[in-house]
Amino acid sequence: MASDGPPPPKGDSDNSPAQPTTAQFVEVQESAEFGELRRTYRSFAFPLTIAFIAWYLLYVLLSNYAGGFMGTKLFGNINVAFVFGLGQFLTTFLIAWFYAKFASQKLDPKGAAIKSRMEADL
């Protein structure tokens, strides 16, 4: 669907976005550049996912089996359980922010370079 002008902003562009051939996809998938993008993404997202799930499960298990520890008062009526719970909120916000920053710095430029090259060939 090579066109002379820029594609229309909405509407029928959705029906048939330009598609490279399967052979082109395979070639790109096997390229070092794409391998680098995949590694960058996976080595960030996979360990982080395991880490936050483990951190969350730790919280669930402590709530279940360490009631005495969780009930320890820290200041006023605020106990360990509250701080731990709010800590889950905090880490969620931080991880979300951290990933967004990582993705726009490390992933987006690599992905965009591959995409524009592939789409330029069409």
């Binding site: 976005p17 395979v26 709530s63 009631g67 509250f82 967004a100 591959i114 592939m118 789409e119």
Partner: protein, 548 residues
């Protein structure tokens, strides 16, 4: 003590009748205003809905912030708003545990699912699951699991709507409740058939803004009452609850027995892994133009939903501090009316104008919440029916865009009618387990299949079918034979006992099983994985090349 928050403990719910009837005109006026506003939006959006991409994906032109609001609107169901506040009001800290699972779950969607899905799919979850598989069997499975998840979720909301609205309007007759369920059903059919994804998205945004504003207002008033001293608020809640410092510690709800502790672990896993497999959430990522916008919309959603759950802490403990436990349970045994009651109390009590206004506002917000969520769920299931099952399985990909959208509209009406009928029948059942079931099916059937599809080269059609049907069947069967359905006074059918499985949430068994089956199915099947299609999927999902 159900794994999800109960909205519909129908028996024995009543707000003192005199209160209800005094406030009724104001509540009805606010409801009507919301309905009229959303209908205007729907008609306006409907006039702009021409192509299939408009109907299914809102034209893909929403901004990240708009979609973030809409995602929040879709996610913050009445269960989160009324249920979590009520659970905190009655069980203290254990109510707060829910919100943490519901929030952390978004990281799975953010890190692993939202962007690849946006890049490689078109309208439904099935697009991604079937991408490199044999289309018809996998589309059928994806459609089945989408519709099961959405209908269970929908049914719980519908029955909850009937109970809630009846309660707030003081309607107690069966006919009145059925009428409310029917009204909700008809409105959701109208939103979806006319407005499609565009209309539904706007309804979600309006609802999210109303919900956040209403919650902010009550939170502010509660904190003001305690001079913004959270420790004092917690202290009053603990002493007023009659449970002392145990009220501020984990265990009042889940720490009773070893079984209930296991149940809590099971629930925790289902919550954290279920969100990223909920079809009505997944299709929201198609409404923005790029994967980057999908990522940003999840970040907005995490901020909005996180902020909202933080406020529910103030609502729940505020209700515990300012109302007596008896006031809360007399109105609704599961505590679902704690938030509206708190609004009335904080506004000056039932006899004051301030109390009446705040009660009406919060009730209208709760109603808006339910309406918007059911519309989102209906859209997800009718989209999947039309796009996965009708267009790709029945018509083998030969249906025109017009025929597909027409099928989606018919499917909406059919799903709406079925939900009205089931919602009316289930109006007196405790259907809270259905939401838990929806999360468990999403985590057991959808999430493993999605993750394998996106990240595992050797995944095959057989693996996809095993994980979808295995996850679906195991979670449905385990719930069927759990205390959610029979054996306990709080069960759906309390009079009989066929509860062989002790846990209310099946996730602990069914989620690992879903993952295991997907892996085994791929290894044991003789079929070779389609590595070329995987190359396409992988390159698309990470770079956005050729994305719709």
């Amino acid at each position: 003590m159900s794994p999800t928050i109960q909205l519909s403990e129908a028996a024995g719910i009543h707000l003192a009748n005199s209160d209800a009837s005094e406030h009724r005109p104001l509540i009805i006026t606010l409801f009507a205003l919301f309905v009229i506003a959303t209908l205007v939006i729907t008609v306006w959006a409907g006039r702009q809905t021409k192509s299939a991409a408009d109907f299914y994906a809102g034209g893909r032109q929403f901004t990240a912030f708009q979609n973030g609001l809409a995602v929040s609107g879709d996610y913050m169901s009445a269960a989160s708003f009324l249920g979590i506040a009520g659970a905190i009001a009655l069980f203290g800290y254990d109510g707060f545990l829910y919100s943490i699972g519901f929030l952390v779950a978004w990281l799975v969607a953010l890190l692993l699912v939202a962007e690849p899905l946006r890049n490689s799919g078109r309208y439904t979850m099935g697009d991604v699951l079937a991408y490199r598989m044999r289309q018809r069997p996998v589309r059928t499975a994806a459609g089945a699991s989408t519709i099961v998840v959405s209908i269970f979720y929908l049914l719980a909301q519908m029955a909850g709507a009937g109970v809630l609205v009846s309660l707030l309007l003081g309607i107690t007759s069966d006919a009145g409740k059925i009428l409310i369920v029917a009204l909700v059903g008809i409105l959701m059919i109208v939103y979806v058939t006319i407005g499609g994804m565009k209309g539904t998205t706007w309804v979600q945004m309006v609802k999210a803004v109303l919900l956040i504003t209403g919650t902010l207002l009550i939170t502010f008033l509660v904190l003001l009452k305690f001079n913004f001293n959270v420790s004092d608020l917690l202290g009053s809640a603990a002493s007023n609850s009659g449970k002392g410092s145990a009220f501020l510690e984990p265990g009042l709800k889940y720490g009773l027995t070893e079984t209930s502790k296991l149940d809590f672990i099971s629930l925790g896993i289902a919550l954290v892994l279920g969100t990223a497999g909920l079809p009505h959430i997944l299709i929201r990522f198609y409404t923005v133009p790029t994967a980057k916008a999908a990522r940003k919309s999840v970040n907005w959603a995490i901020g909005i939903i996180g902020g909202f759950y933080l406020m529910t802490i103030a609502l729940g403990f505020g209700a515990a501090a300012l109302l007596t436990p008896k006031e809360i349970t007399d109105s609704n045994p599961a505590g679902n009316t704690a938030a509206p009651l708190l609004a009335m109390e904080i506004g000056g009590g039932g006899d004051s104008t301030g109390g009446a206004i705040l009660l009406a506002v919060i009730s209208a917000v709760a109603f808006a919440t339910i309406l918007a969520v059911v519309a989102g769920l209906t859209l997800a299931s009718s989209s999947s029916f039309a796009h996965d099952i009708y267009a790709n399985v029945i018509r083998r990909g030969k249906a025109t865009e017009k025929e597909e959208v027409r099928a989606a509209r018919y499917a909406t009406v059919a799903i709406g009618v079925v939900s009205i009928a089931l919602g009316a029948l289930a109006r007196d059942l405790n259907v809270a387990g259905l939401v838990a079931l929806a999360f468990a099916v999403a985590a057991s059937a959808n999430l493993p299949t999605l993750l394998y599809s996106l990240f595992w080269k050797r995944f095959t059609t057989a693996g996809a079918l095993w994980s979808i049907y295995g996850g679906l069947a195991s979670s449905v069967l385990l719930v069927l034979f759990s205390p959610v359905v029979s054996s306990k006074p709080s069960s759906m059918f309390p009079g009989v006992d066929f509860a062989f499985f002790p846990l209310e949430n099946p996730g602990l068994i069914s989620i690992p099983l879903g993952f295991l089956l997907g892996w085994l199915g791929s290894l044991l099947s003789k079929e070779e994985p389609d590595v070329k299609k995987y190359a396409e999927l992988e390159v698309k999902s990470l770079t956005g090349t050729g994305a719709h």
